[in-house]
Amino acid sequence: MGCRPVTVIIFIFTAILVPVLVGECVDWLPWVGTRLIRNAANRLPLAHRARYEEEWQAEFEVLPGGKLTKLLFGLRICANARATGALLQAEDNMDVAARILSLAQQTADQAIMDARREADETLGRARRAADEVLTNARRQAEQITGDAAARAVCLERDAQERHRQAMGLLVQEREELERRVHDLRAAVD
């Protein structure tokens, strides 16, 4: 009983080639798992890629089970990479927002400090100007008071002189009148 060529080909394919091909594919599974992990890490925000790739590769290396388990691990990592990436991105965004808020707070604090310093300087200048005006006013007031006092002394002296002159004139007139009275009495006698 002779074998037909098709039967021989099928036998060779199923008995030799398929196991070889399957074995070859299975040997490639860890490599595929590694590539999946790298691919998953690349979906994360840049700042987190190295950390998670190293962490996942470390666990991948010591994963119990066979090569199919490693492939499944890679597939699960890949499937969850989007969610992990979204969480990390949200965290990064919050960090950026916090940094911006902190920067804004620092800017506001600096602006408040600048405004306070400027206000203090303006107030200081205003106080110095007010002190200067007050000093000038006091000096002028003292000068006016001094001038007025001197003027009063002069006026008083002048009045005293006039009083003295008037009194001298009155004495002369009185002596003149007394002399005339004396002359008239003498004439009557």
Partner: protein, 125 residues
């Protein structure tokens, strides 16, 4: 169900928190947590990222000589003191929501749902 920090207290998150609370002072790596929580390996990391983001968990690299141990260094996760407290409260609140009527808690326990311990237990062991 939403935790006090705003993230969803999913069954996966609850399972992870229970594992971490079993040994709150101990550091755990991802595979260890996955195995103890009964989660498929590789599906843990969004949960851990969420917990880290909330400040319940911190992580750090293992301090080993990789040539000496013959494997890459691991990333270890650990509950923070505040995280342990918040996790206890969140799990207790979740259990409370799941068992509003007296007697229901026992049925949930028999099905393996809900932590048995009360807030504060397990911390400082």
């Amino acid at each position: 169900m939403v935790s006090p920090t705003g993230f969803q207290m999913t069954l996966q998150t609850q399972a992870v928190l229970r594992v971490l609370l079993d040994h709150p002072l101990q550091e755990h790596y991802g595979l260890e947590i996955s195995k103890a929580a009964g989660l498929p390996s590789g599906s843990l990391y969004p949960t851990m990222a969420r917990l880290e983001r909330a400040g319940w968990v911190t992580s750090d690299w293992e301090q080993v000589d990789t040539h000496e141990v013959g494997r890459p260094r691991r990333r270890y996760y650990k509950l923070t003191p505040d995280g342990a407290e918040m996790a206890e409260q969140a799990l207790a609140a979740t259990l409370e929501r799941l068992s509003p009527q007296p007697g229901r808690r026992g049925r949930l326990r028999s099905h393996g749902l809900g932590p048995v311990r009360q807030p504060g237990w397990g911390v400082g062991q």
